[in-house]
């Protein structure tokens, strides 16, 4: 889907402006150029207002101001002024989608009054095979628009360069996970699963004629399910609080980092490095603890059974030394001899004379003895196995000691680093600048709060897991009870089907989540390395299981916290473009001031690489003259199909902007 045109009437500084976008690939880039404050971001706002009824990128100076053009209101002399935005998209098959929203105002006694129109906004019309379908208004139109571009993910299609710089400063792993959830619509899967569980429980609740046993299980299930809901809500609440504490801690850390006092700045930088170091040490501790656990799992059963094993081995040895094992002949061989009437020495023992009878009895006795030792082959095998087991734990003391030593060393190193952190904190607290002391206290307060909340979350998650196990067991019990009564067979079928669907929905969600994470990481990394000017400085972009973003320096040190504003913007641009490309939605991109915080040389590099990783996507760039330098123009020359300039002027109280086609 591509943007065809936007037509704004009386929308903030735009009195009557139509912009046609360049659509034909390869030159499907449109550049709209204007100075700061001319109204570039308001084009972005006009789009989100038209689509979703709200301005998502409103500048602080416009907050609270009506969207209607002040100049148009003044000229209308208390008459009605209609603000409208009309956007036309073109789908891949050439069919058009026309979306519009309008709102009328009039001024009365110095107050602005909204005048309702004949139809609830927005309005959408869709080009069908022969004719147009629609117009659709109000909630039906909004539903259709949201299907094309979900409002929750608009920021991954309509980027705001200024905000991008703050993206990783303001967003935690959970926020980023939420973004992945939103962009892939996985929230729908989660709600769907929860509702399936509710419906399943309701099917049992609605069934009449349940036995008292089933009724009891159902009541237990209901109590547990309600408690599980409470657990989940509490975990979410705790996680929210933890995120807030984490962000505030990061804020105060940044304040100290940006301090004008070199000494404090240095201490904060030192602390950031130590904290990263502690994190790495902690990862190593976790790794070695897992190794210790593995050694214990492998060796402990043998250690506990050591006494009986040694005793068994000794008993087998005694038998072996007595010549009872292994047997000299296989039982089947002796049986065959007796059957044929032959002795082991091949003499005939089939006769009934005294000699034959005596020899026959000897062979029979030998067979009996041999049958008794038939277990001997198993005993021999056991003996070998016991020997192996005993030998395998011979290395146990060394193995466990090595791991223990390593763990002690790491723990000690972690303690030392923590002591250094405390010392830094104390030193900052003793600063003679009040602000610095306050910031440090606040940082410490939120850090403690975050740690406390982490523990609480862990405990609550354990509780939730236990409850889920109880529910699982109760469900099995319920099914067993229902099976006893034929009249509940259809209910059993329904429950089984619900269970299957719940399991499949959960599996599908996990698969998509994993695939998206891997793809976003790969693409963000590729794009970051393509756009960044310090080619040999960073390894790429990594996303861990908790969706925390990291940018490892080639030395292995984490560098996200120390990226410059321009580098951070590039990282966010790469990350958002990666999210966009794996989202599954084909929506044009609009990027507001993409190069504002980037110095001149890297700009050229970004301009050269941008079209490559946005290949096939229609792009609109809203730029200032300072950003759109000669080098950038040259780098984008083959991609830009249309260039517009915004002419901005202030007349009395009002402002007015016109958009002029410069090229295309």
């Amino acid at each position: 889907m591509e943007l065809d045109y936007i037509h704004m009437k009386n929308f903030r500084q735009y009195r009557d402006v139509r912009i046609d976008f360049s659509r034909s690939s390869p030159d499907n880039f449109t550049v709209i150029q204007g100075p700061n404050g001319a109204g570039k971001t308001n084009i972005l706002n006009a789009i989100t207002w038209c689509l979703f009824g709200d301005e998502y990128h409103v500048d602080s100076k416009y907050v609270g101001l009506p969207i209607v053009s002040a100049m148009a209101l003044e000229e209308s002399k208390n008459g009605i002024v209609e603000t409208s935005v009309e956007i036309q998209f073109v789908e891949d098959d050439g069919k058009k989608i026309l979306i519009s929203r309008s709102l009328s105002h009039r001024e009365s006694a110095g107050k602005l009054i909204e005048v309702p129109g004949p139809h609830a906004p927005p309005c959408i019309m869709l080009q069908a095979e022969r004719d147009w379908s629609g117009p659709y208004f109000g909630s039906e139109a909004q539903y259709r628009i949201n299907s094309l571009i979900p409002p929750e993910v608009e920021e991954y299609f309509f980027f705001d360069g200024e905000r991008m710089d703050d993206y990783f400063k303001k967003n935690t792993g959970k926020d980023i996970k939420d973004a992945v959830f939103e962009i892939s619509q996985l929230g729908l899967f989660e709600t769907l699963t929860e509702r399936l569980i509710h419906r399943k429980n309701d099917f049992v609740k609605q069934t009449r004629g349940l036995s008292s046993e089933v009724e009891g299980i159902r009541e237990d299930l209901e109590i547990q399910a309600r408690s599980l809901e409470v657990d989940k809500e509490q975990i979410e609440e705790l996680k929210k609080k933890k995120n807030e504490a984490e962000l505030l801690e990061r804020d105060f850390s940044q304040k100290l980092h940006d301090s004008s006092l070199e000494h404090i700045k240095g201490l904060e930088e030192q602390r950031t490095l130590i904290e990263e170091d502690i994190e790495r040490t902690q990862d190593e501790i976790v790794e070695h603890e897992a190794e210790r656990l593995e050694i214990l799992h492998r060796s402990m059963p043998i250690i506990f059974a050591y006494g009986p094993l040694i005793k068994t081995k000794a008993l087998i040895e005694v038998k072996r030394e007595a010549g009872l094992i292994p047997p000299m002949y296989k039982t089947i061989f002796i049986k065959n001899l007796l059957k044929k009437g032959r002795c082991i020495c091949d003499s005939d023992i089939s006769q009934k004379d005294e000699y034959s009878s005596a020899r026959r009895k000897k062979v029979e006795a030998f067979l009996q003895e041999n049958e008794l030792s038939e277990l001997s082959s198993e005993l021999i095998e056991s003996n070998v196995r016991i020997q192996e087991m005993i030998e395998s734990i011979a290395t146990f003391p060394d193995e466990i000691l090595t791991v223990e030593k390593k763990l002690n060393f790491l723990q000690q190193s972690k303690n030392e680093k923590n002591e250094k952190l405390n010392a830094i904190s104390q030193e900052i607290k003793q600063s003679n600048v009040e602000n610095i002391r306050n910031w440090e206290e606040q940082k410490q307060k939120y850090s403690d709060e975050k740690d406390g909340l982490k523990v609480k979350i862990g405990l609550k998650e354990n509780q939730r897991e236990r409850r889920e196990n109880i529910i699982r067991a109760l469900n099995i019990k319920m099914k067993q009870e229902l099976k006893k009564e034929a009249k509940h067979s259809s209910l059993l079928g329904l429950l089984a089907f619900c269970d299957e669907c719940i399991k499949c929905a959960q599996e599908a969600k996990e698969t998509i989540m994993r695939e998206i994470k891997e793809q976003v990481e790969k693409k963000a990394s590729e794009q970051f390395l393509a756009l960044i000017w310090k080619k040999d400085t960073y390894k790429g972009v990594l996303i861990d299981d908790d969706y925390n973003i990291s940018v490892p320096h080639v030395t292995g040190r984490e560098a996200l916290g120390s990226l410059s504003a321009g580098e951070r913007q590039v990282c966010a641009l790469a990350f958002m473009a990666a999210l966009n490309s794996v989202s599954g939605f084909k929506v044009p991109l609009i990027i507001d001031t993409p190069l504002a915080r980037i110095s001149s040389t890297p700009r050229k590099n970004i301009a050269e690489n941008l079209p490559n990783y946005l290949r096939g996507t229609q792009v609109t760039l809203l730029v200032t003259e300072e950003e759109y330098t000669r080098e950038v123009k040259e780098a984008l020359a083959k991609k830009v199909g249309k260039t517009y300039g915004i002419n901005f002027q202030e007349k009395g109280e009002g402002k007015m902007a016109e958009v002029e086609l410069i090229h295309g």
């Binding site: 892939s184 729908l188 769907l192 509702r195 419906r199 079928g493 089907f497 499949c504 599954g584």
Partner: protein, 64 residues
């Protein structure tokens, strides 16, 4: 006009789930999309109708 993210639909499609499970998941996703953003969506009736229909269909298929 496809309204559910095509990645989700593709994942369901290429899975080994039974046809009835696939159909139910698709139907429920559409219901969720329709009610997305509603404060108190009335989804129970739609859910029950689809679950019962497809569970019955699956059962008769297994019997056949």
């Amino acid at each position: 006009m496809s309204s559910v993210n095509k990645r989700i639909l593709e994942t369901i499609e290429r899975s080994n789930y039974s046809d009835e499970v696939k159909e139910l998941l698709r139907a429920l996703l559409m219901i969720e999309l329709r009610h997305h953003g509603d404060k108190n969506p009335r989804y129970a009736e739609d859910y029950d109708r689809n679950i019962k229909r497809l569970a019955k269909f699956k059962e008769s298929g297994e019997e056949r």
